[in-house]
Symmetry: C2
Subunit: 697 residues, 2 copies
């Protein structure tokens, strides 16, 4: 359907038709039902379209999908009376002019649905268009009346009259295809002398259907404003992160590690199955108020300081700490990593050591105190003496452009590293920086490089965490680290794996970080590390670990969640083959994830009944259910636990005594389970099992 | 707070600030996050406001409340960092310029709440405004640091500096109140020499708080677009409807009843406790294709026809059927009814008999067929031979004004009866007329007469039924008539008695109508009538019956839901004291409703456990729980039913063995219940009980 030829010209009701998106709404654009004048009322939408899904805050933020992932769109569509509706799903990339159209099917109860799949990354949009389909209405009315034995000659005459009008207008229209014109002309001749039954037969023919679609627009056409859709690359939604401090990779506490040492570690990282290698900041480290070992306020002369105290006379956010290597060394690292199918992720931490070059070059970007000193970063009464924050709204009241130049400088920092080949950033504490800054920065970067991924480190309140995801962050750290019990784990997973949350929020389950040495792991021993690795890797499509986890490292500052002798403040050396390590188990977990598409998306997790609070049982499945994996994990690192469990045979269309084919994905053998009630027992040595299930032998 | 004196001028982010509402959005106004230029980004909302409630389709439609009913408003409000937020609820009537402000309280997890109560009927609006409260931030930072034993002298100096700047600007401002100026001046002098502790003490004082509220605006102020709120009179949400055919009120089938006969019936109607008396159409009835007894296609000469075939040579929608009386008689009826505290409700049925004067005067308002005949109303293959529908979009394509004049004529019909004192209309089949027509018509009427009530007779699919409520209908008929089982009744009640539905939809539970002689009642006998009356009157704040119900009339056309010898097609005479009637029981039910505020709103119903599928047990409560009523109904009209039931003692703060004071509202005596587990037994003779519960003797 292209142009109006029906009774009315199509009236597209589209309050925010933004083909070339320029404007930005700052808050939800609520609208109000008000007095309206009569003409506006007559011209307003006769067809109601409601409850479009998916949609994040009614289209204020983009829905997220990865490339190749089908998007199921649904909406309620209805109008007065008994006429037939036509409903289309419209979608396009933001840089395209024409819409792709997909007919929507009536699913019952006025709900309509259709599916499409975007095959490019970047911003897209979709919407729903509906109207009164006069052609289908004539056809259905005639059919119903004929079936009821009612005389349809007058109705058929009216249908022919209407059809002839449509086709004549179509024939007269310039720019119509020759073939269509001939078809219309032929049809006009046929209709001239058609009887009622012939008319109905013609209306019911595929030829008529396709001729109508090419020439006659629906009446009372309504289109919703488009909903934005961000299509991202697969690594946005399926990835394996590994974090390490480059300076700790020399194998000796006496030599500062460098990028070449990291290059030597790459094969081992890849063999474990990780594909994103993330470093804390790699920039020059300030001297003023440098932190010493275990976060002490005074550093000894030979202590390296915290890499989060960014900037010294050797440079700021776009420089490399000299002991790590040169920019050339960094480029070589990126290249070798790419060869190993590993992506390097950098840390973007918007803060400065007091020695950062920006303090002298751009004092207006910082908050100075009444006594002329600089304001340190603080969360009253806490104070971070080795860093100062920037003032995102510097001199705004005075009309100066300090804020503008600061925001641009920060964007330049990100773009600098993007140009050096970095496509993934972990962002430090985004919740303490203004929301509009992130929405602007991420949009700016992704407009130029839609493949760039931002991981939000927002260990903060739930609504702020979600808001950051809505306004652009690709992935987010989560509360997983502190969820240890059966009910809280399944509640949390159900929340983040279903709409509305799964439409904008992508969890990255880190089992530990340099800032979080979980209390559970401090006491659990090796079994606890196996449990947490199994949970994170099978519950979240993106998961990660901070190096040392695979060695079951758990030494803590007493009474705190901090690592003892943390790499944040000193150089460490590690024996990567340390006895008791779980490298082999992690390797298997990552292999199982890669080989089973059920793990490649966050949706599709379902919890099942196991009659022991220490045993968690869940399945992951692809939408087509051609890959269904059952995971059973014991939460007890100290004792054997058993449970009667209920296999979800009904989900396979099997009776309660049906037979399920099972493949043990950890050990490779196969067996059968008959009947839905089974028992399992898990020991601290082998606290989890993973099985692929199928109803077919 | 009135004007900006802070660091920044307040930036009100308000995409749809409609003080004098003119425009109307036709579909949801979705907005899109797009590339934005830097200045716009810096100026955009730093404070996030999300999930405002209540709100119907994100402000597209008005929230409904009755006058004097408190409105609880909540929203998620948060921003980056650790500063203090200020949050206000703003509300006003649509004809007011200035907002009423109510400080919102933090409820936890970034949720804020406040309550207001509109005391006028008509359109209102409300919204939420938030900003960074610099004053509170200084105060809290100083307090936390002092508590932690940190030196606050520099912080206090900065706070004083900021305060002095604010106050100086306030003093210089023209139009400031003299008292405020003096207070500011005094404060400036005090601050000049204040020490840190004094500064904190001053910041914490009520005097400072009130001085600041009058002089210093929040920074980064954000306001959501306003949400419309329709405040209606109490009868919109609490009423008792009674329907009768005036022509059947003479007491004899041989004399056509008239308005004077109705006047004689008024005391009886009022004594039963009804306050709305509704008539099917009272207009002249057409002769062409007039329907005979029991919907027969041909009427005898003396048959009166269906009052829904509106219009004859004696007039149309603004005329009165001559045999009912004159306009003078009607006015007298209205006046006497008012004296009895009864409101007369008319039927608004947009359809015409072929003899309606409009067909000759305005042929362009109707759809004519190819053979020159008129198109009768139809739902293919069904056809209604005695009525023709109007064409709401007549001649639109040709640019004519037929549609305009038709819509205005229909509005004039309603306004005509409004001017005659009618304030309540039952609208026939609104779902077969265009949605924009109703939104326009109701807005036009209520703009002039905000007290007018429209009841939607939309026995159609759920989403259409709800949409009609959203766009303005005050009340709606429901699916109650067909809900007979325990689970379906409680599911339905839970759906319609909670947000989002209860924010826009008001059920009117009719136990029967001239079109619905429920199958349950056709076989249930008197007990069934008692059951349905008890359910309707205790489940819905608005309920109604069609006369004859109280006589347990159930004669049906065999195999149909139609009454035999229906008053729709003939005059009937009734013995209002017929043996076996349930007038006394209905009277008591209506009295109990009136005396107990728990019945005066739809919200506040809760279902409780009774271990018999034939026994329904629920409570209704006021928000303050100062009136809690327990209703137990047997659904079985044929046999005695018993159930163990669980009294919700915990809702009264009582232990499981606590004592509840009970007053039997049907029979007036009092007793005590000890312990949560009790047994009840109900017989077909007494199929329900109603008790007022209290924990205090």
């Amino acid at each position: 359907m292209t142009k109006a030829m029906g009774r009315f010209a199509p009236r597209i009701h589209n309050d925010v038709d933004a083909r070339s998106p320029k404007s930005v709404a700052r808050v939800h654009s609520y609208t109000r039902p008000l007095r309206r004048d009569l003409s506006a009322a007559i011209a307003s939408a006769r067809v109601a379209i409601e409850s479009l899904s998916p949609s994040v805050d009614v289209g204020r933020f983009a829905v997220k999908r990865s490339v190749g992932q089908p998007l199921v769109v649904e909406a309620d569509v209805f109008m007065d009376g008994h006429d037939q509706l036509g409903v289309h799903l419209l979608w396009r990339a933001a840089d395209e002019q024409t819409w792709n159209r997909v007919p929507m099917q009536h699913l019952g109860n006025d709900r309509w649905g259709a599916t499409f799949q975007a095959n490019r990354i970047g911003l897209h949009e979709f919407t729903v268009e509906a109207g009164l389909d006069r052609f289908a209405s004539y056809r259905e009315d005639l059919r119903k009346k004929q079936e009821a034995g009612v005389d349809i000659s007058l109705d058929a005459q009216e249908a022919r009259q209407w059809l002839r009008g449509c086709l004549k207008r179509a024939c007269n229209r310039l720019g119509r295809s020759r073939a269509l014109q001939q078809e219309a002309q032929r049809t006009l001749e046929v209709l001239q002398s058609a009887a009622a039954a012939e008319t109905l037969a013609y209306l019911s023919s595929p030829a008529a259907q396709s001729l109508m679609e090419g020439t006659v627009a629906w009446e009372f056409m309504v289109r919703l404003p488009a909903v934005p859709l961000r299509v991202e690359r697969r690594a946005a939604s399926f990835a394996h992160w590994y974090e390490l401090f480059p300076r700790s990779q020399s194998g000796s506490v006496r030599r500062h590690g460098n990028f070449d040492d990291v290059i030597e570690r790459l094969p081992a990282v890849r063999e474990m199955g990780f594909d994103v290698l993330y470093f804390p900041p790699i920039h020059p480290i300030g001297m003023t108020n440098r932190k010493g070992r275990n976060n002490s306020l005074v550093a000894q002369a030979d202590e390296p300081g915290s890499p989060y105290a960014i900037g010294s006379e050797e440079g700021g956010h776009d420089a490399i700490h000299p002991q790590l290597g040169t920019l050339e060394d960094f480029r070589r690292l990126i290249a070798v990593a790419r060869h190993h199918d590993i992506e390097i992720a950098l840390d973007f931490a918007v803060q400065c050591s007091p020695d950062h070059p920006w303090l002298r070059a751009h004092p207006q970007w910082f908050a100075w105190r009444a006594d002329g000193s600089i304001r340190y970063a603080e969360n009253p009464p806490k104070k971070y003496e080795d860093i100062v924050g920037v003032d995102f709204y510097a001199r705004i009241a005075e009309g100066g452009d300090a804020a503008r130049t600061l925001w641009l400088a920060l964007l330049d920092v990100v773009l600098f590293w993007v140009k050096e080949g970095v496509r993934t950033f972990r962002v430090d504490n985004p919740h303490t920086k203004p929301l509009p800054f992130w929405e602007w920065l991420i949009a700016q970067v992704q407009e130029r490089y839609p493949e760039v991924i931002f991981l939000s480190e927002a260990f903060t309140r739930p609504k702020m965490m979600y808001r950051l995801a809505k306004l652009g962050f690709t992935q987010s750290y989560t509360y997983f680290t502190w969820r240890e019990h059966k009910q809280e784990l399944s509640d949390y997973l159900n929340e983040i794996s279903c709409p509305p949350v799964s439409d904008f929020f992508r969890p990255n389950f880190f089992v530990n970080t340099p800032d979080i040495n979980p209390r559970f792991l401090q006491v659990s021993g090796r079994a606890g590390f196996l449990i947490r690795a199994a949970l994170a890797s099978t519950m979240s499509a993106v998961w990660g670990m901070y190096s040392g986890f695979e060695l079951c490292e758990a030494s803590a500052v007493p009474g705190k969640e901090e690592y003892l002798d943390s790499e944040k403040y000193e150089i460490r050396a590690w024996d990567w083959r340390r006895p008791g390590n779980i490298v082999a188990e992690v390797t298997v977990l990552n292999r199982v994830r890669r080989e089973n598409p059920a793990f490649h998306r966050q949706e599709g997790i379902r919890f099942h009944r196991a009659d022991n609070d220490q045993i968690l049982m869940y399945t992951r499945a692809t939408p087509e259910r051609d890959n269904v994996v059952l995971i059973v994990v014991s939460l007890d690192p100290f004792a054997e636990q058993g449970a009667n469990m209920e296999l979800p045979l009904w989900e396979f269309g099997l009776a309660d005594d049906g037979v399920l084919q099972v493949e043990d994905l950890l050990h490779g053998y196969r067996f059968e389970w008959q009947g839905k009630n089974q028992h399992i027992s898990l020991s601290p040595e082998h606290p989890y099992s993973i099985w692929r299930l199928s109803s077919r032998p």
